[in-house]
Structures are given as C-alpha cells and as structure tokens.
Amino acid sequence: MMPPTTLARRAAPVLACIGLLALWQVAALALKNDSFPTAIEAIRAIPSILGDKEALINIIASLRRMAIGFGVAVFVSIPLGLMMGRSRAVAAFFNPLLMVIYPVPKAALMPIIMLWLGVGDITKTLVIFLGVSLPVIYHSFEGAKAVEEKMLWSGAAMGLSAAQRMVWIVLPASLPEILTGCRTGLVLALITMITSEMIARQSGAGNILFNALDMGQYDTVFAMIIIVGAMGIGLDALFERVRAKLVRWSEPQFDIPLSFS
C-alpha cells in the first residue's frame, strides 16, 4: 500500500502537466491568434502525425541516431573523465581543450561537418556524439576527483593494481555523479538531434517542425512540440528509474537534469 504522501508526490508531475496544458488552453482562447492553436487542437493533431508512415519512419530514424550517438559518447567519455579525475597530468592536458570546446554549440558544427561528410547518418550521429560527450566527461571527472583517497589506499592495501582500483573502486564510487552526467547527456542528445535537424532541414523531427511552420500548419507545429516534449520527459523518467536502481546505496540527491542545447 502506498502512503498518501507518496501518492501525492507521484501524481504531482501529472497534475503539473495537466495544469500547464490548461494554462495553454486558456491563453490560446484569450489571445484568439490564428497561429496559436489551443491545447486541445494540438493534441487532436498528434494521431495524424504518428499515423503518417513517413513521419513515423523519420522520427524512428532520428531516435536510432540519437541512441547510437549517446551510447558511443558514454562509452568513450566515462573512461576519459575518470582518468582525468584521478590524474592531475591527464586533467591538465584535456581541461583547456574542453574549456575551449564547451561554449561552442555542437549543433552549429552541423554545416561544417556536412561539408566534409555529407548529410548522412554519420554527420548527424557525430554531432550528437559531440553534444553528449562534454557533460558526461565533466561529471565523470568531478565524480572521480571526489573519490575518497583512503578508499583507494584500502584497495591498494588489499592488493588491487592501479587498473583494478579504477574499475572496482573509482568507477562504482563515482557512479552517482556519472549517472547525473548521463542524464544531462540524454536530454542533450535529444536537443542536439532536434536542433541539427532544424539546421540541416533534411529529415527527422526537427524538420517536420519547421516544414509545418513554413506551410502554416500551426496545429502540427504545436502537436510536434508536444511529441518532442513528451519524448524528453519520458526518456528522463525512464533513465531516472534505471539510475535509482543502480545507485540505491547512495545518499538521495536532488537532481533534476539540466537541459540545454
């Protein structure tokens, strides 16, 4: 049985969603603007997008690129971040480079990479990979840096080699922080995907958004926003479940992922 407080906590985000949609409805009715459909009109347009075979294939192709970009980025970034966190030299080597790359919008590299590699899957996946890498590296770095020195000493005393300490002590100890980075990275993957599609305007969810905008199908624009928003919230909720399972031992921490492009 669920205590009433837990129930209220679970229901709160749903209520917030409904509240925001209601707010939208009221605002749209009040503004009476042709280019601002009501929430209900937008929701009604969703089935026609999802029913359109081509649009659906497009969206699924987008998601596949996103999954590959995210997966490869996580696989590369975690070891790099952990090594940076445990070795001053490695950190000093990579930090300035990362600081220079940090404020560059990854999706903005799209036109240049397109110039080199064409508009194919590789270009789009590469951009997503770049977008996801930085937060995962950064959080793995912070996590590994904060690992208690004495814990490593205990490991060394038990006969673990440096590499073994990395795998059996540093990695699990920094897991909560790493997963925070992955969570930010996941939302970022989605954002980079959408943005790069908005810039390249070839296919995918971002393209559907702007094509509809150009053709004046405003309810499709807003319906697509709902779909993309739901993907963001859904992916995040899914990841949060996985995270909670993996780091059950850790102190509960307050983190809602920070999403940015």
Binding site: A92, V104, I112, F141, I225, I233, L258, S259, F260, S261
Partner: protein
C-alpha cells in the same frame, strides 16, 4: 573545470590545442583535405582578425551579445527569486517542484517555432528561448543552495535579533551564493550556445546568421570565424564571471 595555473599545467594544457592546430595544418599541407573544405589555420585566424575590426562584424557580435545578456539577466532574476522562494516556503515549493520536474527535461529548443509564432522573428523570441534554457540550472542550484543553508547560521542570526523576512536577504541569499554562482556559470555557457543556435535557425543578424550565410555559399573560412568568435566570447564571459565569483566569495572556503 578550474585547476590552478602552474607553468607546467599551462604547457600541458596548451599542448592538445597546439596539436589540434598542427594536425589541422598538416591535413591541409599534405593535401589530405582540400583548402576549400578545410582552410589552413593561419588563413582562418587571419580572417578572424580582419573581420573583428570591421563594423559589420562588430554589429553582428553586438546583436548576439544583446540577446545573450538580456536572456541571461532575465534568467538570473527569475531563477534566483523562484529558487529562494521555493526553498523558503513549502507552499511555493509544492507548486514549483512538479512544474520544474516537467519543464526542466523538456527540450526547450522545440518550443522555438512556437515562440516565433507568438513573439515574431525579432529579439523577443530569441531572448525568451535563451531565458527558458538558462533558467533551470540557475533555479535548481539556487534552490539547492538555499535549502541546504546550515540551520545554525539562521539560528545565530535570529538570536541576534534579525526579523524573519530579513533572514532571506541577510543569511539565506549570501549563504547560497556559491551554489547560485555555479548555476549562473552553467547558465551563461548555455546562453552562449542557445543564442547562437537560435540565430542559425532563423535570423537576419548575429553570429549564428553569419555562419548560416557562409554555409549557404560554401565559404568554409567564414564558417569557422563565427564559431571561433563564440568560443572566445564564451571564454571571456566565463573569465569575467570567475572574477566576479572570486570577489563575491572571498570569505568562502574553496571559492
């Protein structure tokens, strides 16, 4: 990602950047990549310096900076006040928390078409997008900082006769400052990124627009220039914020 600047660290840190430029030069010199696709670094940086002194390019930078600062400033004001309010009042917290939970993971850039429809193609829609993206990290870190202020600091101030409403400004806000500034730092980088992307997607001026124009005419050199400029802007702004931070937090350990 701050580390103390020792000479060895500086050399070590510059090495990969130098290496990157060397590889870049090498690719062009050995003819692996044609100069039309990958212009040599000397040419790109020369072009950057040449552009930086022209009035038109300066106007593009100014347009980008205006949007960036306006959006960031609104995000700071909103984020800090909502964050503090949510930490101070359980009622506000109960309302804000679920809304933030829903809106924070939402890809804000997807809202951009809607903002264009509602606010038009001018400054308004871009500034709003910057604010929407920079708001949440600032809000969340403010909330986190304000809700973890040590109880005994507040008690000490109360015992010294500070009225309840003044506690917020005299104790909670300064005590949460380290966390707030961390949020601002993230928010600032995000603002740089978002303003550039918004200008790329649709705009008639700004650095993002410069990149798109160059891309349309396949001018590889002119595509690198705005990218390097935004990176430099990010570094400069980050440095300025770091200076503000170390002044404001001079009393705090590990500031």
């Amino acid at each position: 990602m701050t580390s103390r600047l020792s000479p060895i660290n500086v050399i070590l840190g510059l090495a990969p950047i130098a290496l990157l430029i060397a590889v870049w030069q090498g690719l062009v010199s050995f003819g692996v990549a044609p100069a039309t696709l990958l212009p040599p670094p000397g040419y790109v940086f020369g072009r950057l310096l040449q552009q930086l002194v022209t009035a038109t390019f300066q106007q593009e930078i100014a347009a980008t900076l205006v949007r960036l600062f306006a959006g960031f400033a609104i995000a700071v004001v909103l984020g800090v006040s909502i964050g503090i309010a949510a930490a101070a009042s359980p009622a506000i917290n109960a309302a804000v928390r679920p809304i933030v939970r829903v809106l924070a993971p939402l890809p804000k850039v997807a809202l951009y078409p809607a903002l264009l429809l509602l606010l038009g193609f001018g400054h308004g829609s871009k500034i709003t997008l910057v604010t929407a993206d920079a708001l949440f990290p600032i809000l969340l870190s403010t909330y986190y900082g304000a809700s973890t202020v040590e109880q005994k600091l507040i008690w000490s101030a109360m015992a010294a006769g500070t009225p309840r409403y003044e506690i917020l400004f005299k104790v909670v806000l300064p005590a949460a400052m380290p966390s707030i500034l961390t949020g601002c730092r993230i928010g600032l980088v995000i603002s740089c990124i978002v303003v550039f992307l918004a200008e790329m997607i649709t705009s008639t001026d700004g650095l993002g627009h410069v990149l798109v124009t160059a891309a349309r005419t396949f001018q590889a050199v002119d595509m690198f220039v705005p990218l390097i400029t935004i990176s430099l802007l990010g570094l400069i702004l980050n440095g300025l914020l770091g200076a503000v931070r170390s002044y404001l937090l001079r009393g705090f350990p590990e500031a």
